[in-house]
């Protein structure tokens, strides 16, 4: 049962983590600090 629970959590956690990474990268790449 623990393995089944792990799959369920992992299924949402991987894309969630990737979305957070994207948020940070977008802020860094296009955020105010980079404005000319």
């Amino acid at each position: 049962m623990a393995a089944a629970l792990a799959v369920v959590i992992y299924y949402g956690a991987v894309p969630l983590a990737v979305s957070v990474i994207a948020y940070v990268l977008v802020r860094r790449a296009y955020g105010r600090r980079r404005r000319p």
């Binding site: 049962m1 991987v14 894309p15 948020y23 955020g31």
Partner: protein
Amino acid sequence: MIFLIGVAVSFVLYVAVGALVGRRVKTQSDYFVAGRRAPTVLVTGSLVASFLSTVAFMGEVGFAYDGYPILMLVLTPLNAAGYVLGVMLFGRFLRRSEVLTVPEFFGKRFRSPGLQALAGGTVVIGIGAYLIAVTQGASLLLSDLVGVPHWAALLVVWIAYTSFTFFSGSPGVLLTDTIMFFIFVLGGVAGMSYLLWRAGGPTTAVSKLADLGDKPGIVSWHGIVTGPNAQMGSPAEALVWAVTLGIVWMTIVAVSPWQTSRYLMARNEHVSIRSGVLAMAVVLLLYVFLMLGGASVNLFHTGISPSETAFIWAARHVLPTGLGVLVVTGILAAALSSASTFLSLIGFSVGHDILPHLRQWKPAGSTVAMSRLVMLITSLAVLMVTYVAPPAVLTIGYFAATLFAASWGPVAILSIYSVRITRRGAVGGMAAGFVTAFVLQGMVEFGGLSLPVWANPVILSFAASLFGIVAGSLSEQPDPQALSFRHALLRPPAQELEHVRVRTTLRFTAGAVPFFVGISLLLSALYFLPFASLPTHT
């Protein structure tokens, strides 16, 4: 008869849309990259539609039906994450380069027409194989559905996708891809939801699946690992398979030409990023239904052969007629959308990346007309090969994926993030990855070769590609102009820094967080809670 009418109406719709859009194609930029004006919905639709094909709706649903629905759900998050990682690490820079094809990007980045031609060659061989697999799947489905000989179904499928791709190029492919995307997502979610409901709901379905005598362990995370129906020898082998293929497919959606070329058509970089986030979300949502639904087809019939037709069997024998027609039309749409993208990419590569490199070939007359002619000739070649090749939808699809992951993955990422990789390094990496994957994966898939886990062809091909990059790059200095090109790519254009654009993109990425919490809750309701309520766990 009703299935035939549904399929015929959808085919006519796609061809009509292609003809309508094709009339507006005037320039090479229109034909190749849709004038770089595509909004988020079209880029997302085309990303997912080009990716999902008969490999997903027939091959992978069949794999879930065979006994591995949850194992496929272990693979999927890695695969889908490739959309966002890919666009952030590669896709947005590719779009910034304003090339017409992805091989052209490599040619410009390393100032090497030879590399462009080599990358174009891998497109023709790799995507050509994939196109054959998808065409096979679609024609088998159509032949089975309407009871016509295989050659006739093949001809109809070929005419359908060739006609609108040939005439309308990328604008038509974008639009028809998006129409098809809505049809197959709706068909997949509604069809599989109905199957789960007819099986008595998730709890009853999981409970009955757990009791299936000839598919023991189908509801466990690793699937069947014992008995005559086991395709995996142990849970560890199943995990290695899922993680390895998950990384392969992650690389594919991150760098493969049939995915990243969609970003070349985006209106701006932010559209590319938002589309990547949406594509990841849609794929994850759809796979929950496809895999659990695919397994639950067993509750209506356990002996469907080949298992690749499980969803189609359910559409014809379990689903209400209207929903069945939607599902079958959706599966054909998934096939046609991938086929049209593949054909357009092969045609573009032959005409734009390979032929100009051979003997200083120069097109006579209009380049759009020449691109169309090249595409038609290419398509005829695919038709002939598909006619004689034995059917192997899933096998060929996974084979082609490995080819691209190994040959393009390391070179694409290092082309952005390394100042040391040189032209020779890029050529060496691409060639070594391609040849190693072609030989090893080919022998495993088609020659019956069995390798230990540590010698997995995917791992060895990635290693060969990295070795080729290092060996080639050590033998020469990077070209200063190539480095200048890379340097320019790293600076975002001023318009991409506009506050409104950035804010909208940030909202997309932040809004995805609660969505993925919801996905976990959905999977929990459909799988974990019913599984936890079983008296014993397999």
